[in-house]
């Protein structure tokens, strides 16, 4: 059929891309083929703008069992086991239809994990919304949280941690990034490749409907006032079906009758068919008339592009079909043979025997367009990086402290995580809100500490430094618990890559992330890119979220952030430089995202992290908490709240002048590479020796105990508040915003 510019535009393709399709096929594409190209060449599936940058990330290491390119990455965690993990975004659907958008985001990443032969054991999420003062944002938050809960709780995978931030830039484009980790035997990881000519291809799971057609294309365009009309492009989740698929697929994997499998995620049957064939160096031929359909009269175009959820594609050894079918029958699932593996490296789609698409796999995968899009440092950046303190009046420290505790980004997230089943599977040894989500690995002494992080304000002010700071913070979080960071996955959320300043942010962030991961020895084994996070031409804060897996050698030595008891010595590891650029203080008290983010010395950061692991595993630290948002004051407060143990510290040794910006910067500055630990008085000598050996400076601040939270400079209290009052402010800030509204 003739390919005209209007048709191409409807498919999100450029005129040049249209010409390239004709060149690769040697003819005009059929409408089904055009649809197939449109989804496979969409930004979401092809990474056409990001790939040249992603190639620079470190992806190898002695523990890496599977790097990028499969459904998820995998690292060796000892005892013959592998941690299989990945993070993925479901941003656009979660704005259009919050509950289903978020729910299917959870469902999608879970399938990526069990497709690899791993049993999913933990979920985390990283969420970004606009201001909670906006009714529409609150509605969006309620829907997203309920959607995550509805899916994760039902399927029985605990949500053990995560992070949430609020900024006006996300109001029309929330971010929903979901991380999933599974466990597999290291030598039983399944790859999604199709091999062996004549081997049958099976379809199993939900029937195919018209939902989600062009979902991947939607995720590759900006939002405007018409976006709400795209609701049919959002899929509907069925966690029970996914639970059946999960159990049945894990059972099938134990039989060697399986050759490979892949879930039908973005671009559904299209991507699973061509990617499995491509990875296996083979081809796949299917007849879409055999695909179980939920609606009548579906065209091959619709069947190939549907993103109906909870569907899997399997390649089975010829002659062994009955074994596989028996397992699916047990779980009341129907495995349908829809085609077979071929030798010609092509994706051939028939409809009642008539060929409707016949495309070389390479045209859809390796030969998809790749762009080195122009990059330009934004003109506004220099202005944003200046911070004229003389034009601002510093807030009263005590009042600022309570304002920060009540700000949604810092306040307790219990209203959220109480809705998530965070204990199912009985592995959760550090509850949400207590530090890095930590799960024990049954049958071993080990545990895994997991963290997802990103401070978008820092990235906005300096993308390379901000992304490096995100890596440092996430790794420091797992190190506080006693986990050695051994692997990472990233979810890169940015605006429209066709704007040079956005592409510059992206390129810089990837560079900074790569540098930090190389310096800290943490390979990135996969991830996801989400571009076009814009509404009416205004981008979200650049948000390269990083998820880090920490390996804890002794699960019974895990440390949380909570002060254990009164009379312990409180010590700051690292040095505060009083850096307020991009801080929560400036945002919450002055409404500013300005200045230069904190400096990061990766060698110092690495030394601190190794020290934190040593302190936990040698049972020296009794609590450990990373200093991040809200600075030292908020770190101390959060260490008090969980156990109700107060604290009395003197920060004179850290402070500048006792009035004005010196105190503010000491209390609320967000300098990197710091943590607050507490030790029993008798263990202080061991702490001191370990810190000296590691080359990490320490400052004794005071001790735990009492029912107040007191921070002094010299003889003067700059913060002095009843712990119960501070805790109430912090604990109810988010929940109250919802209750007041009802």
């Amino acid at each position: 059929m003739p390919v005209d510019p209007q048709l191409l535009e409807q498919h999100g393709l450029t005129v040049e891309e249209g010409a390239r399709i004709i060149e690769l096929l040697g003819r005009e594409p059929s409408i089904t083929e055009l649809g197939i190209f449109s989804v496979m060449w969409s930004e979401h599936c092809s990474y056409k703008s990001s790939r040249v940058h992603l190639k620079t990330l470190p992806t190898t290491g002695p523990r890496v069992l599977q790097g990028p390119g499969e459904n998820a990455g995998a690292v060796d965690i000892g005892d013959g086991l592998a941690a299989v993990f990945k993070i993925e975004s479901h941003n656009h659907p979660s704005f259009i239809e919050p509950y289903q958008g978020a729910a299917t985001g959870v469902g999608g990443i879970i399938r990526d994990i069990f497709t690899m032969g791993a049993r999913p054991v933990a979920l985390l999420n990283s969420l970004r919304f606009g201001s909670l003062d906006e009714p529409l944002v609150r509605r969006n938050v309620e829907g997203v949280v309920a959607g995550i809960a509805g899916y994760g709780n039902s399927i029985g995978i605990p949500t053990v941690g995560g992070e949430i931030e609020f900024d006006e830039s996300y109001a029309g484009n929330p971010l929903v990034n979901v991380f999933c980790l599974g466990l597999a035997k290291a030598d039983e990881i399944i790859r999604a490749s199709a091999t062996g000519a004549g081997n049958p291809v099976f379809y199993v799971g939900s029937k195919t409907g018209r939902d989600g057609i062009h979902g991947a294309t939607m995720a590759s365009a900006e939002f405007d006032e018409k976006s709400a009309e795209k609701r049919p492009a959002v899929q509907v989740g069925d966690p029970f079906m996914e639970k059946l698929l999960l159990e049945a697929c894990l059972e099938v994997m134990h039989s060697d009758a399986l050759v490979g499998m892949q879930d039908m995620g973005a671009a559904g049957l299209t991507s699973s068919t061509c990617e499995m064939g491509s990875r296996g160096g083979a081809g796949i031929e299917i007849d879409v008339a055999l695909v179980p359909q939920r609606e009548t009269g579906m065209t091959p175009y619709e069947i190939m592009l549907s993103e109906s959820q909870e569907r899997m594609l399997l390649v089975v050894k010829r002659g062994r079909e009955a074994e596989v079918e028996a397992v699916f029958t047990k779980w009341d699932l129907h495995a349908v043979r829809i085609g077979e593996v071929t030798t010609d490296g092509r994706m051939r789609v028939k409809h009642h025997g008539e060929v409707v698409a016949d495309i070389p796999n390479g045209a859809l995968t390796d030969n998809a367009p790749q762009y080195r899009r122009p990059m330009a440092r934004p003109a506004w950046l220099d202005e944003a990086r200046t911070l004229a303190f003389d034009t601002l009046t510093p807030a009263d420290a005590g009042a600022a402290f309570l304002r920060l505790l009540a700000s949604p980004g810092i306040a307790s997230k219990r209203w959220v995580y109480r809705q998530y089943d965070h204990m199912v599977r009985t592995n959760t040894i550090v509850m949400p809100g207590m530090g890095a989500g930590t799960i024990r690995v049954k049958g071993t002494d080990r545990a895994l500490a997991l963290s997802v992080d990103c401070n978008g304000r820092f990235v906005y002010l300096d993308p390379a430094a901000g992304a490096a700071l995100a890596v440092a913070e996430a790794a420091r979080n797992v190190a506080c618990a006693g986990g050695e960071p051994i692997g990472a996955t990233n979810c890169l959320n940015f605006g429209n890559p066709q704007r040079p300043e956005i592409m510059w942010q992206f390129g810089e962030a990837v560079r900074g992330m790569g540098e930090a991961c190389r310096a800290l020895g943490i390979p990135i084994t996969g991830g996801n890119v989400s571009l076009y996070n814009e509404t009416d031409g205004k981008a979200v804060l650049p948000t390269p979220t990083i998820g880090i897996v920490g390996l804890v050698e002794h699960a019974d030595r895990v440390v949380t952030r909570a002060f254990a008891e009164a009379g312990h010595v409180v010590v700051l590891l690292g040095e505060g430089l009083g850096e307020l650029g991009g801080s929560a203080y400036l945002k919450v008290l002055h409404g500013l995202i300005r200045g230069v983010p904190p400096a990061l010395d990766l060698a110092r950061e690495g030394a601190l992290q190794r020290l934190l692991v040593t302190l936990a595993m040698e049972r020296i630290s009794r609590s450990a908490h990373d200093c991040a948002e809200g600075g030292l004051a908020v770190t101390l407060a959060e260490s008090c709240f969980d156990t109700g143990v107060g604290v009395d510290v003197d920060v004179s040794e850290l402070a500048g002048p006792a009035a004005g910006w010196g105190v503010i910067a000491t209390l609320f500055g967000e300098s990197a590479s710091r943590a607050v630990v507490s030790v029993a008085p008798g263990d202080f000598g061991r702490l001191d020796a370990a810190a000296r050996a590691a080359g990490v400076p320490i400052t004794t601040l005071g001790q735990t105990g009492g029912d107040r939270l007191r921070i002094r400079v010299g003889g003067r209290s700059v913060v002095d508040v009843a712990l119960a009052e501070a805790e109430q402010t912090w604990a109810h800030a988010i929940g109250d915003r919802f209750h007041r509204a009802h």
């Binding site: 309920a146 809960a149 509805g150 709780n153 039902s154 399927i155 029985g156 069925d238 966690p239 029970f240 079906m241 639970k243 059946l244 159990e247 047990k330 779980w331 009341d332 995580y417 109480r418 809705q419 998530y420 089943d421 965070h422 204990m423 199912v424 599977r425 009985t426 959760t428 040894i429 509850m431 024990r440 049954k442 699960a555 019974d556």
Partner: protein, 236 residues
């Protein structure tokens, strides 16, 4: 002593119950698929938590029709000890083995947190090792745990001393402040009139090891282990 853990397709606490009774308690345990109809050699049946058949309709409403349930009912009627945890409790209610029904939590949200429950009766196979009035720290994780029965039915439960667990405050008072979900009379768990069938919304199997934050739930499984060993309870 062998526990049978019934596995509905949407059970998701089946492995947790197995781990608790097999690896923590040290008893024998086996999974029984919901399409099986054989409870031979079983000393105690656990209906675990989860979403038995997806529960898009009413929690537990379809599970009562699973083939295994006829045998579970037979086992219970013969006096065998049966415990339904969370979704398992909901299945017991739908099966008519225990009276009443579950409504959505009054928060209208799923709630996962530790709560305190008081042991009201110690003459059941699952509470005989408890002290009367003992307060247990157990997790809940449910969206529909708001127990309801007609006032007359509740009065009868009270008369028969069938309310065996109640949500309480740290001071041990069964008042509204200690009630996480709106359950009538703060009811967290019940037994049958013959006392061998127990249902509760909290998850004792998630509280069998101090590493998980509480080991208070183990006493329920120790109770039934003792009861079976002493011959105090069995299916005749």
């Amino acid at each position: 002593m062998t526990f049978a853990i019934v596995v509905f397709p949407g059970s998701n606490c089946d492995h947790d119950a197995y781990h608790a009774v097999k690896h923590v308690l040290g008893a024998n345990a086996r999974f029984v698929w919901h399409k099986e109809t054989n409870l031979q050699g079983v000393d105690c049946v656990i209906l675990p938590g989860g979403f038995a058949h997806g529960d898009y309709l009413r929690t537990g409403a379809i599970a009562r029709f699973s083939p295994v349930m006829a045998d579970v009912v037979k086992f219970a009627e013969a006096g065998g000890p049966v415990i339904g945890i969370c979704n398992g409790f909901q299945v017991l209610l739908e099966s008519g083995l225990l009276p009443g029904a579950m409504l959505r939590n009054r928060s209208l949200k799923f709630q996962c947190e530790h709560v305190l429950v008081k042991v009201e009766q110690t003459d059941t196979p699952f509470t005989r090792a408890c002290r009367p009035g003992q307060i247990l720290n157990l997790p809940i994780a449910h969206g529909e745990g708001n127990y309801y029965a007609e006032p007359e039915a509740v009065a009868q439960l009270e008369r028969n001393r069938q309310v065996i667990f109640r949500y309480v405050t740290p001071a041990g008072e069964a008042v509204d402040a200690g009630n996480p979900n709106g359950s009538v009379a703060n009811i967290a768990g019940l037994c049958s009139d013959r006392r061998n069938v127990v249902g509760l919304m909290p998850h004792p199997e998630r509280a069998c090891e101090s590493a998980l934050g509480s080991a208070d739930g183990l006493v329920l499984f120790e109770s039934v282990l003792g009861a079976v060993k002493e011959g105090a309870v069995h299916a005749r």
